[in-house]
C-alpha cells in the first residue's frame, strides 16, 4: 500500500526493457518461421517472448503493486436451520412431484430402463464378429499347421541358415503382423540340454520358442550363446534355453512356450502346430 510512494523509475525502465525483449523474441519467432522454421530458433523466440512477459509482469506485480494487506470475510458455508427448512418447503410443497411416490417410482423405473437400454450399443466396442477375447488368446496363427517360418520381412528361413551365435526371429508365413506369433529359432549344442525343448528339436540342435516374454509380453530379444540365456529388455526376465526356457531371473514366472518345427523337403523350416502353450503374458482363463 505504501508502494505508490517508492521511487519507481528504475523498475519502470526494467519492465519496459522486459516487454521490449518480449517483442524481439516474438519477431525472431516470426522471422525464424518465415525462413524455414528451425526448431531451436522457433523455441528460443517463443521462450524469449513469453520470458520477457513473465519478467516484466513479475516486476510490475512485485514492485509497482501492493502485496497483501487485504482481508475478505468468509461467511460459514452451512445455512441456518430456518433456511434449510425453507428450502425443504420449497421442494416438498403440496403439489410437489416428490409427494407422488407412486408416480415417482414409475418414473424412476422408466428412466432406469431407458438408461440401461442405451448402454447396449456399448457392447459393440467388443466386436461380435471376433471370437470372445478369452478364447482368442488361447491360440495363434501357428495352429494352421505346416506354415513356413519366415523373417518379419517375409523371407522363408532354411534350417541351414540358422546359426548358433544369434537367434533368428520368425513369424508364420502370411501372418507377419499378428501380435502373438513372433518366435525365434536358434541352434544349441544338444550336449548342453538339461531338459528336452518342449517343441522338440530338428536338424541336430535347432530349437524354436515364442519370442514373447511370459511376464508382460515384450519380445525377449537378447541372447547370450555361452549360457544359453534369453534376456527380456523390458523387465530383465531371463530364460534358460538349456532347460526348456524356464525363467531363471526376473519377474517372469512361466517358461517360454516351445514351437514344434520340422524341416520340409526343400530345407525350409515349418511349424507342425501351435505353441506348446499360449504365448506371452498370462490371463485369467489361461489353460
Amino acid at each position: 500500500m505504501s508502494g505508490q510512494h517508492r521511487p519507481q523509475g528504475g523498475t519502470v525502465h526494467a519492465i519496459r526493457l522486459a516487454f521490449g525483449i518480449s517483442v524481439l523474441g516474438a519477431v525472431e519467432f516470426a522471422v525464424a518461421y518465415g525462413l524455414g522454421g528451425n526448431t531451436q530458433l522457433l523455441g528460443v523466440g517463443l521462450a524469449v517472448a513469453f520470458g520477457g512477459l513473465c519478467v516484466g509482469l513479475w516486476l510490475w506485480g512485485r514492485r509497482l503493486l501492493p502485496m497483501g494487506g487485504f482481508v475478505e470475510q468468509r461467511p460459514p458455508l452451512a445455512a441456518t436451520q430456518q433456511d434449510v427448512t425453507l428450502l425443504a418447503h420449497a421442494i416438498g410443497g403440496p403439489e410437489s412431484p416428490v409427494r407422488r411416490r407412486g408416480l415417482l417410482g414409475m418414473f424412476a423405473l422408466a428412466v432406469g430402463t431407458v438408461g440401461l437400454a442405451l448402454l447396449f450399443p456399448a457392447r459393440s466396442l467388443l466386436s461380435f464378429r471376433k471370437p470372445d477375447p478369452d478364447v482368442a488368446l488361447d491360440h495363434t496363427a501357428w495352429r494352421f499347421g505346416g506354415l513356413r517360418l519366415v523373417t518379419p520381412e517375409g523371407v522363408p528361413v532354411r534350417a541351414a541358415d540358422v546359426g548358433a551365435e544369434t537367434i533368428q526371429i520368425v513369424v508364420p508365413e502370411g501372418h507377419t503382423r499378428d501380435g502373438d506369433v513372433p518366435a525365434f529359432v536358434v541352434r544349441v549344442d544338444p550336449a548342453n540340454l538339461i531338459t528336452p525343448p518342449p517343441g522338440g528339436m530338428v536338424g541336430g540342435g535347432l530349437v524354436a520358442y515364442s519370442l514373447l516374454c511370459t511376464h508382460a509380453g515384450c519380445p525377449v530379444a537378447l541372447y547370450q550363446q555361452t549360457t544359453g540365456r534369453m534376456l527380456c529388455p523390458c523387465h530383465q526376465s531371463t530364460f534358460d534355453l538349456f532347460n526348456a526356457a524356464t525363467p531363471v531371473a526376473g519377474p517372469a514366472a512361466r517358461p517360454l512356450p516351445g514351437l514344434p518345427i520340422v524341416v520340409d523337403a526343400d530345407g525350409y523350416l515349418r511349424a507342425s502346430g501351435d505353441f506348446t502353450s499360449p504365448p506371452g503374458p498370462g490371463y485369467w482363463s489361461r489353460p
Partner: protein, 560 residues
C-alpha cells in the same frame, strides 16, 4: 468514453457490475506453494493449445502408407499412417516439431505440478472438511492426467510406444475375471489391433479433455465458493482470507506465472529433444527397444514390474498373472488410499469441524511421515525403472542392482519416514523456524515424548488489543480496517454501499473485535469520487473492444 459506452451497453444487458466488483476484489493468499495448482492449470492450457494444433496434422491409423518426406532414412518406407504423420510433424510440418515437443514437455510439467500441488495439500491438511470434494476431484484429475499422458505418447506407433502399449496390454490382461474383456474394450482386440489407435486418439483428444474441462471448472468453482485456505498468521482467522486482491496485484502476478510456464514449455520444446520417434523406428510386433523407459509419471509402475518377484498363482483353477500385484495392485491401493485420505485422516484425528486455516506441516508429524514414506517408495520405484541404464552406466550386473532396490523399496521408505517424523516433532516442540535452525537438543526432543498437537491460530477469543476502524469515504461508500496487537493493518477488500454491509462483513471476518467509526485515516488512498468499479469497466470494455475488432475484421474477410 468508448469503453464507458461499451461497458454501459454490456451492463444494461447482463448486469455485470456487482459481480465484477466482487470478483475483482477477491482475496488470494500470498503463498508461493499455492502456485503449483496454477502451474498445472497453465500447463493444461498449453497442452490444449498445442494439442489442437497437433490434431490437425496427426493421422491416428495403423493403415499402412508410404512415408515420402524430408526425413531421408524413412523416405519411401511403408509404415503406419500414425507413424508417418508423427515423423512428418517432426520433419515436414513447419514449426511442427516445436509444437510436438512443447506438447510433450507440457505434459511432463502438468503431471509434475499436479503431484507437487497434491503434496502441498496433503502435508498442510488442506483436504480437510469442507474440501474433501475438491480433493476427490483433484485425485481424479491426477488419474486422468496419467491416463492421457500414457495414451498421448502411445499414439505415434513408434517402437518405444508399441513396447509400452504391449506392457499395458499385459497389465490389463492380468486383471482377474474380466482382464481379457477389458483389454479388448481398451485395445479393440488382441494386441496389436487396428482399432487401438482410433480408441487411444478419441480418448486422448476428446473424452479425457472434456472430462478435464468439466472437473477443472468444478475444482475452481468450489475454490471460489469455499475461498482459499491460508496459513495461520496475523489477522488470519477461520472466518476470513488475508492476501492480495485479484485486481490488480494478483492478476499481474498470475499472468506472469502463465507467461513463465509458456516460456519454459517452449524453451524445452525448442531446445531439448523429447520422444524422437524417428530414431525409435516404427512399431513391429517382433521388436523391442532397449533400453525402454516410459515417461516419469508412469515409470513407477514399470519399476514395480521390474522389482516384484515372479509371483503367479491360481484362484479356483484360474491364473492370476505376475503383473497383477505390482502394476494393478500397487496402483489400485495407491489411488484408493489417496481417495480415502480425508476420511482416514478424520478417523485418526477425530476432527469433524470445518477448517480453513492450514496446519504447518510440522504440526502433524504422522502425516509428514506418511508423505515421506510414499515419496520415497515411489522414488525407489522410479529408480528401478532405469535399472538397466544404471547397470550399463556403471558396468554392474543388473541382478545386483535389482536385489539392492528390492531391499531399499521395503526399508528406505520407513527410514525416511522415521527421520521426517522426528524432525517434524522436533520442529513442533522447539523454537526453530526451519530444519536448519534445529539444535541437537531439540532433535533429541523429537525422538522422545512430545507435546500433543496444538491447534494454532484459531479464532482468538481475546479481542482486546485488536480494533476495527470503520469510515465513510467522500463517495459515500464504506470501508473498514483491522489493526492487530502489533499494529498490523489489513484493509477490507471491498468498498461497501452501506454502513450495515461493512459492519456485517467486518464482524464475520473478525468475530468479537470492537468496531470504531472514524474519519478516513490519512494513510489510506481514497477512491476517486466519480464512482466505483472503474477498473472493472476498463477491463470489460477492453475485452469487448478487442472482440468487436475481431468480429469486424472477420466480417470484412468473409465479404466476397
Amino acid at each position: 468514453m468508448i469503453t464507458r459506452w461499451v461497458y454501459r451497453t454490456v451492463d444494461a444487458r447482463l448486469g455485470t457490475t456487482s459481480v465484477a466488483r466482487t470478483a475483482l476484489a477477491k482475496v488470494f493468499p500470498d503463498q508461493w506453494t499455492f502456485m503449483f495448482g496454477e502451474i498445472a492449470l497453465y500447463s493444461f492450457l498449453a497442452l490444449v493449445l498445442t494439442g489442437v494444433y497437433l490434431t490437425l496434422f496427426f493421422d491416428p491409423t495403423s493403415a499402412q502408407t508410404v512415408y515420402d518426406g524430408a526425413y531421408q532414412p524413412l523416405s519411401g518406407s511403408t509404415v503406419s499412417g500414425a507413424y508417418a504423420s508423427a515423423v512428418a510433424l517432426s520433419y515436414d510440418v513447419r514449426a511442427g516439431l516445436l509444437i510436438r515437443q512443447a506438447h510433450h514437455w507440457a505434459a511432463l510439467l502438468f503431471v509434475g505440478a499436479i503431484v507437487l500441488h497434491l503434496l502441498r495439500i496433503f502435508v498442510t491438511g488442506a483436504f480437510r472438511k469442507p474440501r474433501e470434494i475438491n480433493w476427490v476431484i483433484g485425485v481424479t484429475m491426477l488419474t486422468l492426467a496419467l491416463l492421457n499422458g500414457f495414451t498421448g505418447y502411445s499414439m505415434p506407433d513408434d517402437l518405444l510406444s508399441g513396447t509400452g502399449l504391449r506392457i499395458i496390454y499385459s497389465v490389463v490382461l492380468s486383471v482377474p475375471v474380466v482382464g481379457a474383456w477389458l483389454a479388448q474394450l481398451a485395445f479393440g482386440g488382441e494386441f496389436p489391433s487396428d482399432a487401438t489407435l482410433p480408441r487411444l486418439f478419441v480418448t486422448h483428444v476428446l473424452i479425457v479433455p472434456a472430462v478435464f474441462a468439466a472437473l477443472i471448472s468444478a475444482h475452481l468453482a468450489i475454490i471460489i465458493r469455499q475461498k482459499h485456505t491460508q496459513f495461520p498468521g496475523p489477522g488470519r482467522r477461520e472466518r476470513n482470507v488475508v492476501g492480495s486482491r485479484l485486481w490488480p496485484a494478483y492478476t499481474v502476478r498470475t499472468l506472469s506465472l502463465a507467461a513463465g510456464v509458456f516460456a519454459v514449455v517452449f524453451a524445452l520444446g525448442g531446445l531439448v529433444q523429447i520422444n524422437p520417434v524417428w530414431i525409435y523406428g516404427p512399431f513391429s510386433p517382433a521388436k523391442a527397444t532397449s533400453p525402454a523407459q516410459p515417461d516419469w509419471y508412469v515409470a513407477w509402475g514399470d519399476g514395480a514390474l521390474r522389482l516384484f518377484p515372479a509371483v503367479e498363482f491360481h484362484v479356483f483353477g484360474h491364473l492370476v498373472p505376475s503383473p497383477f500385484l505390482p502394476a494393478v495392485g500397487v496402483g489400485t491401493v495407491t489411488f484408493l488410499v489417496l481417495y480415502a485420505w480425508p476420511w482416514l485422516d478424520r478417523w485418526r484425528t477425530g476432527d469433524r469441524a470445518s477448517r480453513h486455516l492450514l496446519q504447518p506441516p510440522r504440526q502433524r508429524p504422522g502425516r509428514i511421515a506418511v508423505a515421506a514414506w510414499a515419496v520415497t517408495f515411489f522414488a525407489v520405484l522410479l529408480v528401478a525403472a532405469v535399472d538397466d541404464i544404471i547397470a550399463r552406466l556403471f558396468a554392474i550386473p543388473v541382478t545386483g542392482i535389482l536385489r539392492t532396490l528390492q531391499v531399499l523399496v521395503l526399508t528406505l521408505p520407513f527410514v525416511v519416514a522415521a527421520v521426517a517424523y522426528t524432525v517434524a516433532r522436533a520442529l513442533r516442540g522447539g523454537t526453530a523456524r526451519s530444519v536448519g535452525e534445529l539444535t541437537a537438543e531439540e532433535l533429541r526432543g523429537g525422538l522422545t515424548a512430545s507435546p500433543g498437537p496444538v491447534e494454532l491460530g484459531d479464532d482468538d477469543p481475546v479481542a482486546l488489543d485488536q480494533l476495527i476502524t470503520l469510515w465513510r469515504n467522500p463517495d459515500d461508500t464504506w470501508r473498514w480496517r483491522w489493526t492487530g496487537p502489533d499494529d498490523e493493518k489489513l484493509a477490507s477488500n471491498e468498498a461497501y454501499l452501506s454502513r450495515d454491509e461493512a459492519v456485517a462483513a467486518a464482524s464475520v471476518a473478525f468475530v468479537g473485535v470492537p468496531i470504531d467509526q472514524t474519519e478516513p485515516p490519512p494513510d489510506v488512498v481514497l477512491p476517486p469520487p466519480t464512482g466505483h468499479g472503474r477498473a472493472a469497466r476498463v477491463a470489460a470494455g477492453a475485452a469487448w473492444v478487442a472482440m468487436a475488432i475481431v468480429a469486424w475484421r472477420r466480417s470484412r474477410k468473409d465479404r466476397p
